[in-house]
Amino acid sequence: MIRRQVRWIVITWVILWSGFLAPAVAQAAATIRVAGQVLDRDSKTPVPFANVRVVGTVQGTGCDSTGHFWLKLAPGKYQLEISALGYQTAFVTLRVGSDTPAYVQVWLTPQAIHYSEEVVVFGEMERQPEPRLNSTEAVMEQVEGVTLIKRANFAWEPSLRGMQAAQVGIVIDGMKIFSACVDRMDPVTAYVEVENLQQLDIRKGGFDLTLSPAIGGTINLITNKPDFEKPFSFRTETGLETAARLRVLRSEINFARRSFAVRGTFSIKHAGDFLAGEGRRIAGSGYRKYNFDISLARRWGSRHRLEFSLIGDEARDIGYPVLLMDARKTSSRIVRLEHFWRFNGGWLSSIRAKVYANRINHWMDDYERDVTRRRVMPNMYMPMFGQTRTMGWLEEIRFQKGRHVLNVILDAYRLWAFADMQMIGLEPGSSPAYLVNLGDVVDQQMAVALDYSWMIHSRLWWRTNFRVDVSRRDVTSPYGRQALTGFWNRENFRRHYATLGISTSLEYQLDRYRSIRLSLASGQRMPSHMENYGFFLYNIVDGYFYTGNPDLKPEWSRQLEVMLAQTASRFSYRLVGFVNDIRNYISGTIQSPEFKVYTNLSAVYLVGGEFRGEFTLSPSIAASWRLAYVYGQNRTFEEPLPFIPPLEGLFTISYDHNGLWLAVESRFAAPQRRIAYRTTLEDETPGFAIVNVRGQYAIHPRVTLRFGVENVLDRYYHEHLSVNNFPAVGRNVYLLVGIRIPGK
């Protein structure tokens, strides 16, 4: 078994390296020159420096100052994505014949009409214009350097390059949202269902400081917005997945009339107990989940756009078989009001202002467990409740003059968090107990970020970020403060923090295909409200109750990243290496038997890299390779850092022709033997390799079938970041039927 996995890894490495050495050969194959020009639809003038990307690949190029670009492509059908600052991203279908050079003219519409978030230099955009994957988690899992922490068959939490929890900022359209569950059952990524996910904007490392000061990176879930170009459209998809007997129904509707547009989505997911590999049924792992999104948009010419959206998410009876309790009910509402204002001429190019509010409620309990046999806190039920409420304001002011772009971001929010727990003894006459995990914690934060980029000349690009965050936080309930006095001898728990982040990045185009980028960053991450003020937080991994520490210092990270990328018609790749040195790393240290407090450890470091390669084997066949590795070491305890994913990768071959898309994927991970045994209790995890097959076929302009088999070989395995060795899903066959009106 293990030998077979090792063989897999060896084979994939060989393919990778042979691909790595072969690009010169690959480029020599027959390609056709495709040239084009990008123009402004309103002014009919060229749009300089637009980005051109071949959808589904990392191939792409940039326009020169006269809006011209050119690419080399093998014959076939492609979709080009053209994006430029201040313009709506356009998609153009392009047929490349076998001999005639192609020329395309692309008209870009000024951005206020349908904006997409700006081009990201520090991170990557994973786009899903046509959902081919079944969940937001599946989309994230495709990205190298992202590893999902799995606690149940539900709502997986992303970690980036070995960083997780408060080290990673997860925002929805830039909005701050905080999990309500003190056991981290409800990552923010659960609230954007795949039908609402327009783009997954992943910024690894602490280089991009525009959305959060998180040192591990930021994931921005960009939601779909009402589309003014679709007077009426309706899409629905329904289907089944066998492993958990998951039934899913999702619908999307869009109305537009001149300057007004409405979009609504709704999805239902019902899952039973799932089958792990080898046909093992995991009892108590089902769930029900309902999600909706209503958004309204109004525009005034091309200059103003006002948007309102409400996302609602409800889940019931979510089984967490490897944790102490199940989530009984979760409920969230996320409201956003946004104004986008574009300016013509002048150096002020746009202002985007958002006000938002969200509320997350989370109930969990152990009523369905045999609590008499539990090791920790036996013979009692422990229903728990958690709530967060966040209100915020986000303002992005963009200045542009020639090749200089400056974004000024003002980001302020207020978080209120509460969590409590009852303990109800089973024996008659036993008296109940009660505690508060988060006693009305209030955190008021304000930040100013500057994001400046300058195209020094057509081959050299410089970008730098600067961010200051201030926070004022306190435990506002007297009961909550009193409880903390059992650990901290003080009356006042108020804290102020001020942190500073700075990053800079230089990208240089080495030649027609290859570019190199060097980035440096120094950033600080404030402790989370739980790390400062949490009380009696049970950690299932090491079995300790964690207590917050109001005296924590921010984590301070210094990072370096080097990227080498090649964008060519047959073979494109991106190779990234990074070093992350963290001081004041926050971790639990034993305070007394059963109890740990969060403490700043002096120093840890992480080193790693990612690789993504994409081969175009023929006009309809493509292969891609993704690999990621992180090495994390705790220098204070001289042991590996916990929860570091092993070497993992994804290899995909896909075929796309005449409405039929087929893909075979192999996802694999090497064993993880570097485990933490002092700061927490991990165990080693064996490696694995699984095979997935996916397909999509348009049987009619209005009807599309999606189908696939995940874990074809029905392997029984778990991943290193799966909590308590939570087993992965076994063989899963899925079939979904989608209908769209109007048809394609």
């Binding site: 202002i351 806190m377 036996p378 013979n379 009692m380 304001w393 303002e395 003002l410 302020a412 303990m423 003894g425 024996e427 036993s430 008296s431 109940p432 107990a433 009660y434 505690l435 008021q444 304000m446 004022r472 009961y479 403060r481 009193q482 409880a483 903390l484 006095t485 059992g486 650990f487 001898n489 009696f536 305070q591 007394s592 038997p593 059963e594 109890f595």
Partner: protein, 264 residues
């Protein structure tokens, strides 16, 4: 339009900043030292009037008593000597209880504080022997007090066969989190003599019996004088707690008692 927006933004900024620097000014009012006390009796001798206060309803346990003397019913006496003697008459026998006389003979606010450990519920006679040091007058005042029952005093027989009274002084109002934990230990030498025990070591173990867990960061009570032992107890949550107390002398176990404490 641009200006309006700018003004709006800066107002928001300033409002946010302002909300961070809220200041409050408090005026300290003059306090009557007996404001939080309960008057339980009065009397007089010569030209001195006597008021006696407690800091709560009189019940079994360590009871603080406060005496205030007034010259001619007006002027508060700040120099006095106060002695306390409690007595319970059970018809078949009489007995006293542990008590503490006020140590000071000068009190700026005019309150002389002593204490009685009421070891049983029922009718007690507490005699105050008083000397007004400002004019040399002296006299006695006796109060009859109805003492309510409580679980704050434990009577145990030690390994030396002597009878001990262990009294829970603090927490009087237990709350979640860290609490002062204070006990007194007295030995019954005779029906009338209950001296303070000052030479023992104590350890405490708080637990929640119905939950089966304890709490961290407790501090064992250490002798502070006059048989008072003070430490810290951490009640991590609301509910029924029990504090087990082991008393040792010279490393040898002397006795064990337990106090049940309900934490709101």
């Amino acid at each position: 339009m641009k200006n309006i927006r700018f003004i709006l933004l800066s107002t928001l900024f300033i409002a946010f900043l302002a909300s961070c620097t809220k200041s409050t000014t408090e005026v300290e009012p003059e306090v009557d030292p007996t404001a939080d006390l309960l008057k339980i009796g009065e009397g007089n001798f010569s030209s001195t009037t006597v008021e006696i206060f407690s800091d709560g309803e009189i019940e079994v346990g360590y009871q603080r008593l406060f005496v205030r003397l007034k010259q001619g019913g007006e002027k508060v006496v700040t120099r006095a000597r106060v002695e306390i003697f409690p007595l319970m008459d059970m018809e078949t026998m009489k007995h006293s209880a542990p008590y503490e006389n006020p140590e000071a003979i000068v009190s700026e606010n005019g309150l002389f504080e002593g204490a009685v450990v009421f070891i049983m519920s029922g009718k007690w006679m507490v005699t105050f022997t008083l000397q007004n040091l400002e004019n040399g007058d002296s006299g006695k005042v006796t109060l009859t007090l109805d003492v309510a029952a409580s679980q704050r005093v434990k009577k145990v027989t030690g390994s030396d066969s002597a009878t001990y009274f262990v009294t829970l002084v603090e927490p009087r109002a237990p709350r979640v989190g860290m609490n002062d934990f204070e006990i007194t230990v007295h030995k019954k030498e005779s029906m009338m003599a209950y001296p303070a025990v000052t030479d023992v070591e104590t350890t405490i173990t708080p637990t929640m019996p119905s939950m089966g867990h304890g709490s961290p960061n407790n501090e064992h009570p250490v002798h502070q004088g006059r048989g008072h032992y003070r430490g810290k107890v951490n009640f991590t949550m609301s509910g029924a707690w029990r504090v087990d107390l082991q008393i040792q002398r010279g490393g040898q176990p002397l006795c064990e008692v337990a106090f049940d404490i309900q934490v709101p």
